[in-house]
């Protein structure tokens, strides 16, 4: 009788252990993304063939300013960074030269030939000296305006305003000249379709204005009178194209008229020739953190390309060989 009780107990224990083991094995591995039947894998899209990478020198600067919003360079090669209601001036090696406060965090920066700093304070522009003194405040564009980029060419200031998707042109004294977004055919390439707060401007070597038409994956070039001069851009997830809702997020033009572009979604920095022909890739997603989005670009006097990765508090520096 006693033995029988022991056998019953043993059988019970074995059953109990088997149930535990079965539960363990049947439990899905939650850490494994393959367990997700609805996984949208972007890994294959993010793959860039190695032969597309351009030879370059690379370095980076750790940024002593969290939540940076905008990046610019001056003619001396210093870097200007806006973030947390201040402007930081750094040497190209990252040594801090100056820091001054602004009433709001600047959303865009540009430096003119007199080394004055144009600073976009959401809906209006402010002009500062290189010592941080406020020289002038421009009137607000409209109450809900959000300036995402400033481009300076001698005698002209251009502002990209993302809420209405318009570009405003001012004289150097702040007198309004014209806007570029209104009255265009909505199907035309120069109708600016700006779905989000990524809207960039750049000035070409011939002082003409280039605008990112992010909703159409195009870069648009305007004549001085505001009419369409040219445009380029291909919609594609392939390395030579732009994809997603708002790409390229940022551009910069080099002295030879070539373009450097930054993208979000599939985070890439790429180079195109003056006609929009794809040349190669400077950096792919592996260079940046997983949260990198909207990488502001600036160029140095020796053709350095600076990339602001605000999410990682870094300024990446590329110099093509």
């Amino acid at each position: 009788m006693k033995n029988r009780i022991w056998i019953y107990l043993l059988v019970l224990l074995l059953t109990f252990l088997l149930i535990i083991l079965f539960n363990r094995l049947a439990k899905p591995d939650f850490e494994n993304p393959a367990q997700n039947p609805y996984d949208l894998s972007l890994d294959s899209l993010a793959q860039i063939p190695p032969e597309l990478y351009l030879p370059l020198d690379y370095s980076y600067i750790d940024l002593p300013l969290p939540q940076a919003k905008a990046l610019a360079t001056d003619s001396a090669g210093n870097l200007l960074v806006a973030g947390q209601q201040s402007i930081l001036v750094l040497t190209c090696e990252g040594k801090e030269l100056l820091r001054f406060n602004t009433p709001q965090t600047a959303t865009a920066l540009a430096v003119d030939h007199q080394q004055r700093i144009y600073c976009a304070l959401e809906n209006h522009l402010a002009l500062y000296s290189m010592q941080g003194d406020l020289l002038k405040t421009f009137p607000e564009l409209h109450p809900g305006a959000y300036i995402t980029s400033i481009a300076y060419s001698p005698g002209r200031i251009y502002l990209a305003e993302a809420v209405k998707g318009d570009v405003y042109e001012f004289t150097g004294d702040g007198e309004f000249v014209k806007s570029y977004g209104k009255g265009r055919d909505k199907t035309a390439p120069d109708f600016l379709n700006i779905p989000s707060l990524y809207f960039d401007l750049a000035i070409g070597p011939d002082n003409s204005l280039w605008v990112t038409n992010t909703g159409k994956h195009k870069l648009v070039n305007f004549h001085a009178d505001g009419s369409l001069r040219s445009y380029w851009g291909v919609t594609s997830a392939a390395p030579e194209g732009f994809c997603g809702c708002c790409n390229p997020t940022h551009i910069v033009l080099m002295e030879d008229g070539s373009f450097i572009t930054a993208e979000k979604g599939i985070v890439r920095i790429k180079k195109y020739n003056y006609g929009g022909g794809f040349i190669g890739v400077l950096a792919g997603p592996e260079r940046f953190g997983p949260k990198a989005v909207g990488l502001d670009l600036a160029k140095g006097p020796e053709e350095q390309i600076y990339v602001l990765e605000a999410e990682n508090n870094k300024i990446h520096c590329f110099r093509l060989k």
Partner: protein, 195 residues
């Protein structure tokens, strides 16, 4: 007999008796006390129902792992994609609607990212398109949310629909959510959409 009659008359007259000031205030006070007690009870009851904790997804934490679609106790998950139209760019090439690398931007089934075709695309005017969610078809897999977040503005977000959710004491999805994105919030708060 006449005494009885006079008594009846007396008792019958009591109904028409004038109420004194003191009596009037007493009755008024009692009525006011009753009304305020009733309102306070009603208010507290409604408040307690409104502030009962309910499950909701924190879109800031959500990683679109797909478990909302597969682990809800309901046959079709109570988690649904919701669209914050204010954030949407109304793009032609919508990362939440189209599969990556589509050849044509049209409503062909082979171009759509949603496995249940729950996301509807409607032409507004060139170059804008509107995207709506058919809640009957949405299973909360979050594939469109991932596409929208990766390429777009993140206007598509997963939320638990309180009209469908049974508000289980121990939510089956919350137990397996790898990001800890499913949290308890007061019912009065309802939804946690990014704006």
């Amino acid at each position: 007999m006449s005494d009885q009659h006079s008594n009846k008359l007396k008792s019958g007259n009591t109904g028409n008796k004038k109420i004194g000031r003191r009596e009037f205030f007493k009755t008024g006070l009692r009525a006011a006390a009753l009304i305020s007690l009733g309102s306070a009870t009603g208010y507290l009851l409604s408040k307690s129902t409104l502030d009962d904790p309910v499950w909701q997804i924190d879109p800031e934490k959500c990683v679109q792992c797909g478990r909302c679609a597969t682990h809800c106790v309901l046959p079709v998950s109570a988690v649904k994609c919701m669209h914050v139209y204010k954030m949407c760019g109304y793009c032609d090439l919508c990362g939440g609607y189209f599969r990556p690398q589509v050849k044509k931007l049209d409503t062909g089934a082979e171009n759509q990212l949603c496995p249940t075709k729950a996301l509807k695309r409607t032409f507004v005017e060139p170059p804008y398109y509107r995207y709506d969610i058919d809640e009957e078809l949405c299973n909360g897999c979050g594939k469109c949310v991932e596409g929208c977040g990766s390429f777009g503005n993140g206007s598509l977000q997963l939320q638990i629909n309180h009209n469908i959710c049974t508000n289980c004491n121990k939510c089956a999805i919350a137990r397996v959510c790898p990001a800890g994105a499913i949290i308890r919030i007061p019912a009065s708060k309802g939804y946690l959409l990014k704006k």
